[in-house]
């Protein structure tokens, strides 16, 4: 996957080779210490920090000719962030093919979703991360947070869950659900919905998380335990998508009742639901055509 290549105008993959080398090495370290946030010297990119520079740098450091790239934003290949990042990578990485089909991609860069089918052996999913540290909600001082990670001190995160159960009879974290990796470090799995968290658990593919503004990279290696924090007697739950009559909502376009649904308001004040993962929706329509 990783190859050096020079093109007539500009350097392949935009980043210089030293930067790529550093990012690859950071990724290797992150894979070796599952869930640990490895610091790195996030480079200036031609997009603003907070718009996916972390994910973009990982993608550019790993991609090579022969790779097949898919870029998604909130599950869709056609969202603004996905389109812009894809066209930037296309301009700077000649010889790389793109696809919208999850199954055909070798490298997938994503924001806020994991593909509905999960990722397969050999695939790499690169997530764009705004806030890498799950402890930020309970401790504002980074030095203290690092000590807490080092000592495995996550009691205050659990207290947050406890307080939710007391107040709302329900854990109210909808996305960025703190997840313990390999029984050790707790990560912020980026703003993916709860629905996607079980897909991290013992996945055959590799998850890489890049936070450009916060200058951190972390990883969930293949076949690694990923356990969302929960109590022994209050199991972790994902979104249910129940209609008012109690039945499971279905996608208005493909009819799937197994996918994560987006709610779309209609001009008449009503709403409809459709798959958030556009590739899943298209495949489902093909299969049932």
């Amino acid at each position: 996957m990783i190859q050096h290549a020079h093109t007539g105008d500009g350097h392949f993959g935009f980043l210089d080779e030293f930067a790529k080398k550093e990012i690859r090495r950071t990724c290797l370290k992150a894979i070796c210490i599952p869930g640990y946030q490895v610091p790195y010297s996030s480079r200036e990119m031609p997009i603003a920090r907070g718009f996916g520079t972390g994910g973009l740098q990982i993608t550019l450091a790993l991609i090579g000719p022969g790779d097949v790239l898919k870029v998604i934003d909130q599950g869709s290949d056609d969202s603004v962030n996905a389109v812009n990042l894809r066209s930037f990578i296309m301009q700077t990485c000649p010889g790389v093919d793109t696809t919208t089909r999850t199954a055909s991609a070798t490298l997938i860069q994503t924001r806020h979703r994991v593909p509905e089918v999960g990722i397969a052996r050999g695939q790499v999913l690169v997530l764009q991360v705004p806030y890498p540290d799950p402890l930020v909600i309970v401790e504002s001082n980074e030095l203290r947070r690092r000590a807490m990670h080092a000592e495995g001190d996550y009691a205050r995160l659990w207290v947050k869950l406890y307080e939710d159960l007391v107040r709302f009879k329900e854990i109210t974290i909808a996305h960025r659900y703190p997840t313990r990796i390999a029984g050790r470090y707790v990560i912020d799995p980026s703003p993916i919905p709860r629905w996607d968290v079980p897909r991290l658990h013992r996945s055959p593919g590799l998850f890489l998380f890049g936070a450009g503004r916060e200058k951190k990279i972390y990883a969930v290696p293949p076949f690694t335990d990923a356990d969302p924090l929960s109590f022994d007697d209050v199991p972790f739950r994902v979104e249910e998508f129940r209609a008012t009559d109690g039945g499971r909502l279905t996608c208005a376009r493909c009819g799937s009742h197994e996918s994560f649904l987006d709610e779309i308001p209609l001009p008449d004040g009503g709403k409809r639901h459709q798959c958030s993962d556009s590739d899943w929706c298209a495949r489902h329509r093909e299969d049932h055509a």
Partner: protein, 280 residues
């Protein structure tokens, strides 16, 4: 009767704030009448302090502000590192640690599973952003209790034990009275069934009837669970009521130690004499 190994053996405990110099310890202390080193201006907060604490015992530590008594508790509760000295911890479950030689993770384990701390100011000991139950839950979660129902049951138990109305389990501690905050702090400290409890001026600033109740509670707990305690205070009444043995500290040194009755009835050191006569 075979003498049992003490739960805590402290030896040569020294904490110097500042650059420190070879003459710091010899140039300060009771005889020098100061704890500031005249050569390097370092503060010798506590020096060459040693004592033992037996299982189930309450040891009183008495002294004026600046005498080093809070530093002593801070060091033993592993919130700060000593300049020199050692402390051996040994309990009935076979846990045996050289406290200051243990790494940070081990120290945290000891703090979470074996020690409890009750501060003078509830703001130091409680998290005011979470409910009373949440405060107890935090300690239980640190002690690896991960069942929601188990936590609720234990929290209710502890609140009942410390006479905080059970109905207030989900209320914020900010809305509690001072005495209730202090009782909640004690409940929180007791959550993981600690072996060693540090009480730092627990009754200071409370009105007299509330003080008496808190002291009763502490004595009851000590008699029921046999937890060893170190009670730091400048209040002779507290020492008289709680402690069987007492250390008197001044300028970072222990100037007198012995049975509480003996110290209060027949003080030897001029400072203790002055302290006792001032109180009576």
């Amino acid at each position: 009767m075979i003498a049992e190994a003490p739960i805590l053996t402290v030896d040569g405990l020294t904490r110097i704030y500042g650059p420190g110099c070879p003459r710091c310890v010899s140039a300060t202390g009771d005889e020098a009448g100061t704890n500031v080193c005249p050569h390097c201006r370092s503060v010798v907060s506590i020096a060459n302090t040693g004592f033992v604490l037996h299982h189930g015992e309450i040891l009183g530590v008495m002294g004026e502000s600046g005498s080093g008594k809070s530093t002593l508790v801070k060091l033993l509760h592993l919130e700060d590192k000593p300049t020199a000295g050692s402390a051996q911890y040994r309990d009935h479950d076979g846990v045996h640690d050289d406290l200051f030689a243990a790494n940070a993770q081990r120290q945290r384990w000891l703090r979470n599973h074996r020690f409890g701390m009750v501060h003078q100011n509830p703001h130091l000991g409680l998290n005011f952003r979470v409910s009373a139950g949440g405060n107890i839950a935090e300690r239980l979660l640190m002690g690896d209790v991960f069942g929601y129902r188990a936590i609720r049951t234990r929290a209710t138990e502890l609140l009942t034990r410390t006479e905080v109305p059970r109905a207030r389990i989900d209320h914020m501690p900010g809305g509690f009275s001072g005495g209730m905050q202090q009782r909640l702090q004690i409940a929180r400290a007791l959550a993981p069934d600690p072996q060693l409890l540090f009480l730092d001026e627990v009754t200071t600033g409370l009105d007299l009837s509330v003080q008496a109740k808190i002291l009763d509670l502490i004595l009851e707990i000590q008699q029921e669970s046999g937890v060893a305690m170190i009670a730091v205070t400048h209040d002779l009444g507290v020492i008289r009521l709680l402690a069987t043995r007492t250390l008197v500290m001044r300028h970072g040194r222990i100037v007198e130690s012995g049975l509480t009755d003996q110290i209060l009835e027949d003080p030897q050191h001029p400072y203790t004499q002055q302290l006792v006569s001032a109180a009576l």
